[in-house]
């Protein structure tokens, strides 16, 4: 019998997950070593512009709602080499982090304005607006919401003429490993869109490496 491949998950649906666990689920496409590539639109009123971007996940700690990695911007004007930054991410899990940023110059209004740009947020919006989404069960939700904040430049000095003052609102799709994001920095063009897809290092298939800290 043919089976319809349709997403039916909703945030309140709990099936087969560990009782009491409401954290976002582990997803192999968002595990250490995974790579993504795509673009960041940095268009301004003056001109249309997009930078090619590569991302690599270096650390994931779901219990603490933490992940981190590097972001490489490839065709940055005025930069001789690709610019690599290290970022740390907060996973919105309602335990460690909520949808409200509460820092980095982002108000609750800014938060809602950005989250609502992700279609997958619409199912959560009313609860988030009511109580910050504190009682949401995200353990079976096929999207993972995060904030990524760049911490330092890896291969260039701070005098490179670039800024990492802002942060990204990010939505990851557990289904296909795609990442959408919006850069937020009150001093930069608003809603710079980040679009990334899972890459396979040129392989006809998916490969997964791993490390384990002691």
């Amino acid at each position: 019998m043919p089976v319809r491949v349709v997403e039916t998950s909703s945030p309140s649906q709990v099936s087969g997950t560990t009782p009491g666990n409401t954290l976002p689920p582990p997803c192999t496409l968002l595990s250490v070593g995974q790579a993504f590539s795509g673009t960041q639109n940095v268009s301004s009123l003056q001109k249309d512009e997009a930078w090619r971007v590569n991302v690599r996940i270096q650390g994931v700690d779901l219990d603490h709602g933490y992940l981190c990695g590097t972001m490489e911007a490839l065709n940055v004007p005025m930069a001789d080499t690709p610019v690599v930054t290290f970022w740390e991410g907060e996973i919105v899990d309602t335990k460690n982090y909520t949808f409200f940023t509460g820092k980095w110059g982002a108000s609750a209004e800014d938060d809602i304005k950005h989250w609502t740009k992700f279609p997958s947020f619409s199912l959560l919006q009313s609860e988030v607006e009511a109580d910050g989404g504190k009682s949401l069960d995200l353990s079976n939700y096929p999207h993972i919401f995060m904030r990524w904040k760049e911490q330092y430049f890896v291969n260039v000095g701070t005098d490179c003429g670039l800024t990492i003052a802002g942060f990204y609102y990010v939505c990851f799709s557990c289904s296909d490993g795609s990442i959408n994001g919006f850069y937020y920095d009150p001093n930069s063009s608003p809603f710079q869109k980040l679009e990334l897809k899972s890459t396979n290092d040129g392989r006809p298939g998916f490969s997964f490496s791993s490390y384990e800290l002691q």
Partner: protein, 670 residues
């Protein structure tokens, strides 16, 4: 400075020993020689060693023995007084040799001092009893002192008789014997039931020496024993606990330290005792202050602190907020540290950095990492191991690994050297640190190889000791994570395919797991790295397949299956090779292992199984349709269809992804 005439013009050690040993020396001269000896060795380690070399310990113990016999024969008057003076002086010399010097303790014990001193603590002359008890107490500061078995009635009666004595040195001796000997849960319970705790609490009201000895003994009896701890607190509604808590304010640093130790042992046994923020903060602040103490208290304070914060994130945060990291780092940067002190500081810093990123950041900002290099090459094995454990914990920070903070010659060269350490515990600690440090994301991994790191790890991967083997392979696995092909080839060259194949079928499952995870990383990355698995007639590929068929341990299966899945992400030839490993072997009528993996209770194994199917059936590959037919015939596809609502979201989504692919391949039944 008070000094005897003799100490102004000290005799040559040989002469002094000659006078002690000679039968021609008069009684008075012998007594004087004992006094001279005592004055020369007090607090002087070098002198003690020099006299021990001249066999001073047997001479003094001999004098103690003959004087004890003479005194016992009942000679009266001046003669008795003289013998008792000799007993007092020779006991004091024995105590002096034993004080702070294990070689001294060993020498006096070997010379037979212990039973003699023990028999004299009940001497009628209180001064004799006092001197002997004091010396025994000193001997009991050393781990070499004889142990008592409190499960034996006689030992228990003896220690109770000591604790009930009127002589404060004798009661102190009783407490010291408990501290030294009480190690098992059963002994703790037996002592508690015999009323020892009550007596020890009673002694807290005595002299300083009694108080300190009792606190230490209480800590030993309570340690890791919830039953004893609750009986300690229970009967009088915490009166005993309050007595100890009061001593946190004592004016003597050692008393404060021991009161902390005692309370921490109570606290660690239960989640309900001493858990309010006030007392937690107080303990941290007292220990913070005691870290500054010069001498034994300052040396021991980091160990007590470690006991307070180990494995407890909330306590580590309190300590961090109280600037304990800064204080420890400041002490570390002072020169000329005793081994014990260095060890304690590294252990406490390791605990602080075990969980909290803020502590690791602070340690790195305070440039402590440079001080580690010296400690890694320290004479003391305990210090070397503690420095490794510290390095292991501080390098749990992915942020700092990504910044390449650990992969530099200052750290790597001494760390790699420790792989050849003569002490196995140091080797294991070094392997733990290396496992983390080599995760390095900053492309400095070749440095580790240049420093001989791979050679050392490969050597230890062949160790007879399984705990060394597993840690060595673990380090190689982390080194192979996201590394370039050149480094992978160096690892393989050094390790050899045949050794790696034998590690896959190591007797220990944990070694098998790490070996398979290492291969999984080796075949990740650029596509040509998959070929490593096909060298020597596919020895590794067959070993992986064999392990997947033979083991039932999920953790081993997960790594093995991800290895095959990574191979299946390669070209047609690779995918065909994976199929041959997954298909039932000739003559084997059982179902394919892939069906078993899809049904396994481990969600990670199910996920790996579905990824393998996805890689084998990518619609763009020419052989995908043929493999789909084979998988269908093996019962894999029908099993997969049952998994569209798997309780694990990742498995569910991957299953749907796989079924979507099958639809594209024209699988009508999908």
């Amino acid at each position: 400075m008070p000094a005897s005439a003799a100490s102004n013009h000290p005799s040559r050690p040989e002469d002094l020993i000659g006078r002690l040993n000679s039968s021609h020396t008069s009684c008075e001269a012998k007594l004087k020689a004992l006094r001279d000896l005592k004055n020369q060795i007090i607090g002087n380690r070098t002198k003690k060693l020099a006299f021990l070399k001249l066999a001073a310990a047997p001479s003094v113990v001999g004098i103690l023995s003959s004087s004890a016999a003479a005194a016992a024969q009942g000679s009266g008057g001046d003669n008795r007084e003289f013998h008792e003076s000799v007993l007092i002086q020779s006991a004091a010399v024995i105590g002096s040799f034993a004080c702070g010097l294990d070689a001294g303790v060993k020498a006096v014990l070997d010379a037979g001092a212990f039973p003699l001193l023990l028999s004299l603590i009940s001497h009628l002359n209180e001064k004799v009893a006092d001197a002997c008890a004091r010396s025994l107490k000193i001997i009991y500061q050393s781990k070499l002192a004889p142990k008592y078995d409190f499960l034996q009635k006689k030992s228990m009666e003896f220690v109770l008789s000591l604790l009930n004595s009127d002589n404060e040195n004798v009661t102190g001796l009783g407490a010291s014997i408990i501290t030294h000997s009480c190690k098992t849960t059963m002994e703790q319970l037996t002592l508690s039931e015999a009323g020892v705790m009550k007596r020890l609490v009673g002694l807290l009201g005595g002299s300083l020496a009694q108080r300190d000895a009792s606190l230490e003994a209480l800590a030993a009896v309570i340690k890791d024993n919830p039953e004893v701890a609750s009986s300690f607190i229970g009967p009088e509604n915490g009166r005993e606990l309050n007595v100890v808590t009061e001593l946190l304010n004592d004016k003597y640093p050692r008393t404060r330290l021991l009161a902390c130790m005692c309370l921490i042992n109570v606290k660690n046994t239960s989640i309900s005792y001493l858990q309010d923020r006030g007392i937690k903060n107080k303990l941290v602040l007292i220990l913070l202050e005691l870290l500054d103490d010069i001498g034994q208290v300052g040396d021991e304070a980091p160990f007590v602190l470690s006991n307070l914060i180990t494995e407890k994130e909330d306590m580590q945060k309190l300590a961090f907020d109280a600037n304990v990291v800064e204080k420890l780092c400041k002490h570390l940067q002072k020169v000329s540290f005793q081994a014990k002190c260095l060890q304690g500081i590294f252990i406490a810093l390791a605990d602080l950095c075990s969980k909290l990123e803020c502590c690791r950041d602070r340690v790195i900002n305070l440039t402590v990492i440079n001080s580690v290099a010296g400690a890694l090459a320290h004479d003391s094995a305990e210090v070397r191991a503690a420095a490794c454990i510290f390095l292991k914990n501080v390098s749990r920070s992915v942020k700092n690994l990504s910044a390449g903070h650990f992969m530099n010659e200052t750290v790597i060269v001494p760390l790699v050297r420790l792989l050849c350490d003569s002490c196995a515990s140091v080797q294991i600690a070094a392997l733990g640190a290396i496992s983390n440090v080599v995760v390095d994301f900053a492309a400095y991994k070749p440095l580790f190889i240049q420093c001989g790191g791979v050679k050392g790890l490969v050597q230890l991967s062949k160790s007879m000791e399984s705990s060394i083997r597993v840690n060595a392979v673990w380090a190689l696995r982390n080194l192979a994570f996201l590394v370039n092909n050149r480094c992978k080839e160096e690892i393989l060259l050094e390790l050899s395919i045949s050794t790696l194949a034998s590690l896959i079928s190591d007797p220990e499952a944990s070694v098998q797991e790490q070996a398979l995870a290492l291969i999984r990383n080796l075949v990740d990355g650029t596509m040509n790295s998959i070929e490593y698995l096909f060298g020597e007639d596919g020895l590794l590929l067959h070993a992986v397949g064999r392990q997947l068929r033979n083991t039932s341990k999920p953790e081993v299966l997960i790594q093995g299956l991800y290895t095959l899945s990574n191979v299946a992400s390669g070209n047609e030839h690779h995918k065909v090779a994976v199929m041959s490993q997954l298909c039932p072997q000739a003559g084997d009528n059982t179902e394919t292992i892939l069906v078993k993996f899809l049904q396994n209770s481990s969600r990670q194994l199910r996920t790996a199984a579905v990824w393998t199917i996805i890689n084998l059936t990518l619609p763009s590959n020419p052989g995908a349709s043929g493999r789909l037919t084979e998988l269908r015939n093996m019962g894999v596809i029908s099993r997969l269809k049952d998994m569209v609502n798997d309780p694990c979201l990742d498995v569910k989504l991957r299953t749907r992804m796989a079924l979507g692919q099958l639809l594209m391949l024209g699988d009508a039944s999908t």
